[in-house]
Each structure stands twice: as C-alpha cells, then as structure tokens.
Subunit: 300 residues, 2 copies
Amino acid sequence: MELVIVGSLALDTIEAPAGRVENEVGGSATYASLAASYFTKPGLVGIVGTDFPPEQKKAFEAHGINLAGMQIAEGKTFRWGGRYSPHLDQRETLFTELNVFEKFSPELPESFQSAPYVLLANIQPDLQHHVLDQIVGKPFVAVDTMNLWINTALESLKRLLHRTDLLIVNDEEAKMLTGETGYGAAARALQNMGPRWLVIKKGQHGALLFGPDEAVFSAPALVYSRVTDPTGAGDAFAGGMLGYLAQTGDTGFATLRRAVIHGSVMSSFAIEDFSATGLLSLKSSALENRYAKFQEIANF
Amino acid sequence: MELVIVGSLALDTIEAPAGRVENEVGGSATYASLAASYFTKPGLVGIVGTDFPPEQKKAFEAHGINLAGMQIAEGKTFRWGGRYSPHLDQRETLFTELNVFEKFSPELPESFQSAPYVLLANIQPDLQHHVLDQIVGKPFVAVDTMNLWINTALESLKRLLHRTDLLIVNDEEAKMLTGETGYGAAARALQNMGPRWLVIKKGQHGALLFGPDEAVFSAPALVYSRVTDPTGAGDAFAGGMLGYLAQTGDTGFATLRRAVIHGSVMSSFAIEDFSATGLLSLKSSALENRYAKFQEIANF
C-alpha cells in the first residue's frame, strides 16, 4: 500500500441553495480517500458506528479503498449538519454529534504501517500524532487541519508541524497560524515551523505551493465551474494531491506542481454535486479533460 | 505611430512606509507611456503646466515617447498627494489640485489619429469619448477607469464601453459595475456591456483575462516581490499590455495572454520604487528575467 489516509467518517446533513441532503456519507477521510482512489489504492483509517450504511462500504471497496483500518464501534456514526449561504461563500454549522468518533483512537493495521505516503486529513492533532507514532520508516507526511484545532489544540498542532513534510492550509488558517497577511511572509513563517512544503488554498483564486528557497508555484482556479455543495473541497484536494504523489512515487517540485493541479481537479468534481457524489464513478477521460482545462487557463 | 496613450500627467507627493517623495512626476499617462515605451514608441496625449520639469520631458523623449500631443498650459500642473497604510494595502488621498487639468481637452495631432492601438488611461469618461471622436479608422481601443468615474460619470462610462475592445478594471470596479461577486458572472455582465475582451486585476492574486465564449486566462502574481510604492501599478500594467500588443500587431487570444504577463512585468517594476522611478532605464535582460519568473511560477 502506497498511501494511508486517516480522518473522519461522518453522516452529513447539508442545506444549500440547490437543495438538501440528509445523512449522506461525508467526513474528511471519505472525500480524501475517494479522490485518492483515482490514482492509487489507499488505506483508510477511521471509525463508524453500527448504523453506517453497508452500501457505502461497498462503494469504498469498489473504488479500491482498503478498509482494514476502518473500525466499526457500537453506537452511532459521527453526524454533522451545515447550511450554506445563498452565494455558498459562508457556512453555518447546524449540529455536531461526535457519537463513536468521541472515543476514536486510530490504529494502523500492520500492512498500513510502512506506507511511503501518509495523509493526516482533518482530525484532532493528538490523533494525528498517534498515527505517526505507529509508522515504520520515513514516509512523506501531509497534514491538513482547520481553524478549530488552531484555536483549541495549537501546541499539539505546532509539534505536529515538526513531523510534517507538506502542510495544507487555507488562506484564513495561514493567517491564524502566523499573523501574517502577505503570502510570502506567511509561507516563510509556516515553513520555519517545520514543513518543507506548503500549500495555501485560496478558493476562487487558486492555490500557492511553496518549497525550499522561496520556490513558488501558483495554481489557477477554474472560473466557470459549477458549485452545488462546497463540503469536502479541501479534503478532495488533499486526497487528489497525495493520491497523485503516491502513484508517481516522487516528491520533487515538478511532481508536486502537477499534484496541486490533480488536487484542484478532484476538488472541482467534489463540489459539483452534494456530499461525495461528485467523486463517485468518474471516468479517466473526465479527469484528463478537467486537467486540460487547468492547463488551458494557465498557459501563456 | 502604433499606440496612442491618453491620460493624466501629474506631480505627486507620496507618503509610504519606505519614505516620502514630493512633486515627482506621475499620472496615468506617465506610468502607462513609460511602461509601453519598452515595446513601441507611443504617442502621449496630456496636459501639463509651465512648472513641469524640463528634465522630465527629456526623460520621456529618451524613452522614445512622442510628445506632439502634450499640451503645455499657463498655470500649474495637476498635483496629487496620497499616503499609504503600513502594509501598503490602503491609500488615503491627502489632496487633489486639478490646476491646468481642469480645462483639459485632449487633442490628437494628425499623426496620432490613425494609430491602430489606443489606450484611454484613467481620466474622465467624457474626455475618453472626445479622444475616440478624433480617431480615424478602427483602432483596438483599451479603456482603464476607476471607482470615481463609476460613481460620478456612470452613464458616460457605459456609453464608452460600447466603443471599447478591451476593458481593464480591478476587482472592486468589476463588482461596482455589475453587482456580481463571482468572476464568471461579473465577466459575462461586463462583456454584455460592450467590450469583447476584459481584464480583471486581482492584486496579489494576479489577473484574469476574459475573451469570447467564456475563454479565460488566469495570470499569476509574483509572491516575493518588493513593493515600495504601489502608485501607478494599474497604469503600468495597461501600458505594458498595450505596448506589447502594438509591438506584435496582433490581438488574438494567445497574444493577449502574453500581453497580460508583460503588463504584470511592467507593473511589478513600477511598484519597486517611488513614483515612476522603477520604470526608468530598465534593461531588456531585466524584462526578460522578470517574464521568465512569471513562467516559472505558473508552469506545470
């Protein structure tokens, strides 16, 4: 196995201008694993309750996702509800029921422990540490996080950054972590905290990839994209990016640039439909065409 | 002559974190003409007072700028004073003295009237109309504007857009003109007002070029750039862009993409030093290296 993905598995209720869905499978590990599955056969580590829909397990398996690290605990699956504003630019959390997730302790099956790529999708930093403690060897470690952990678990998160090869944050998180408003200054500050590589996601402005010695890649965003439900956009980005790295087995700057675009491609599919529906059953020609769109928009 | 540039000529007093300059030559036509002069020998149309420094006229001439359309009127040159915030992201106008500019009526010398490229740099839209009324033939007309004219001369500006091939606006102006917050929707609305081509400048996020049939080009911004004085960044962008178009004699999408990058290059030099100093005496190797930096940051 080339890539291990650790994160949340949830049943989401989402309200958006285009409609409403109830108890649809979501969570950071769901989006990331499905996105990564187009490049490699990732191993998923997470926890669900006994109410988790069996057909969803089958969907994961149909995507080649290894579920040996998926714990099924007595009780209900983590549930989350959110509502988007009319222009989809703001989100309000309606409810969070941790349920079995509250006692989650990620355990890596032996076959997962020597994977050369690890994606710590968005969960509590202490759990992310616990995953790394079980790792054998020196994998390429990518970390995603969120404002909640910056506010409530900053010390643990900062220690984690010293164990991180690639940090993936958004605009707001970069500012929260560094206090810097300019991208160059924020990147320098974040790289000084540990990670050699850094991605700052800028929503409709694309993404920036930072490497050693002020190396920068600026990835565009699509302009005329269809957005139905932004949930999971960042997780799909991280999954697509790491899936591509695991597939190529390389982490040079040129490969990382293309990985950012593959992440953007998967993210663009994720938001076209509710929940993770946009990431199901994509044809390779659809992925290639979308990648070509990014080339077309950036080429000069 | 391939390119006529009409705009303001001013003596600026600028306060920024790096220092203060007084009565330095500025104005939209100054920045745009100097930027364009690296690609073509533009004709400048504007007005100054008898106090305009003779050495500045010589600097224009040394850059190959044709001053046959520069009026010298009895009185003082237009003066403007501004102060930047510590992070250079906000600007406060300290004073505006129109002086001879108040009675400016741009007159095109006969040798200017058949130029195939016209840049109407930022001035009152009625004056921009008056320039077009003197034009012979069907030039490629580029228009720059600002929030002041959107607020005070909207009707005239809207009529002007029907005579415009390329509109250059920033983020805020695009929103003011259309009420749209998404770039795709704003572009559609602006293109419906007349211009076939549209550039939306996004500051630290680069720029978007829109063409017919939802054609889009996303240009990156440099991240580790040095900024001393942002005054004239937009004018230098427009001048570099139109200068390059005039040099190539082509307005296809591929050429326009490269023109946006050349505009970004000139803009990046303009802001490195106070007033227009950053646009003086640049070596062609410096321009090429800067262009290559944009390629490096965008390439994947």
